[in-house]
Amino acid sequence: MRRCARTHAVQVFKSSTTITHMSGATELVVDVEAISDGVILRPKGDVDMARSPVLRTKLTDALKSKPARLVLDLSEVPYMDSSGLATLIEALQTTRKNKIKFIVCNLMPRVRSILEIARLTTVFTVVENRDEALKA
């Protein structure tokens, strides 16, 4: 069990890739889905100090190909701390530098709350859902 917790499992589903990072008793999974003009990332799980490096790696990988649009779907992220915010800000800076549209959608209440407290809701392009993210 302990050995399994240190491995990364990779599974391929059609056009999406799932990377599982186990850290202690919990995990962060990031689904990656290709779209016509870019990519959608959908992390699943809490994004805190232990797990934000996984999201950072996936965002960095996605940005390497300089897509026209990067959508971060947070519909399955119930919790995020400032290390998660820092990861998002890093991605924002890269997207601005490379003129990539970076859209964040489907915020859960606690995640929306931390963005509001940090006064970041107007810094990011935040929309309600994935449909809006694809049109933004």
Binding site: T26, S82, L92, R119
Partner: protein, 152 residues
């Protein structure tokens, strides 16, 4: 100060943050705080732990953090104390940065102040830093603030 209801020592490992915040959330809920308030406590403690592990202990995973928790009766709420043995930090550096400066990092202290009703950092004479935070149930916090205003 009376004996804490919970006193525990954890190792400075990021993977322990999730179980600690879950436990504190549960305790805060038992103490009468609502879901939003429990969420604020979880996030504030998470930020404090992150600061200790990353900046205090420089990501060393075998250092110690002591957490003490008191349930407050009148007004309803919780007090949480976190002690470490990291090098002393000048207190004026623990005020959080300006939010208009959009950059990664440096948000933790600002969040702790925003989320909790009282925040007090101090240098422990025996070495290390101490953070004491309190979160009161909204009704109690409103009355407490009103009393402060009335008395000032």
């Amino acid at each position: 100060m009376s004996e804490p209801h919970i006193h525990m020592r954890i190792l400075s490992r990021p993977e322990l943050m999730a179980p600690v915040r879950a436990m504190l959330c549960e305790l805060a809920s038992r103490a009468g705080l609502n879901e939003t308030e429990c969420g604020h406590i979880a996030l504030a403690i998470d930020e404090a732990l992150t600061n200790i592990i990353r900046h205090g202990y420089k990501n060393d995973s075998d250092s110690h953090i002591w957490i003490s928790v008191w349930e407050l009766e009148n007004p309803k709420g919780v007090r949480i104390q976190m002690d470490d043995l990291a090098p002393h930090v000048e207190l004026e550096k623990l005020k959080g940065r300006e939010l208009d400066d959009i950059r990664p990092g440096g948000l933790g202290v600002h969040l702790i102040h925003s989320l909790m009703d009282s925040v007090h950092f101090s240098k422990r004479p025996e070495g290390g830093m101490r953070l004491v935070v309190e979160k009161l149930h909204a009704h109690a916090a409103a009355n407490s603030h009103a009393n402060v205003k009335h008395n000032s």
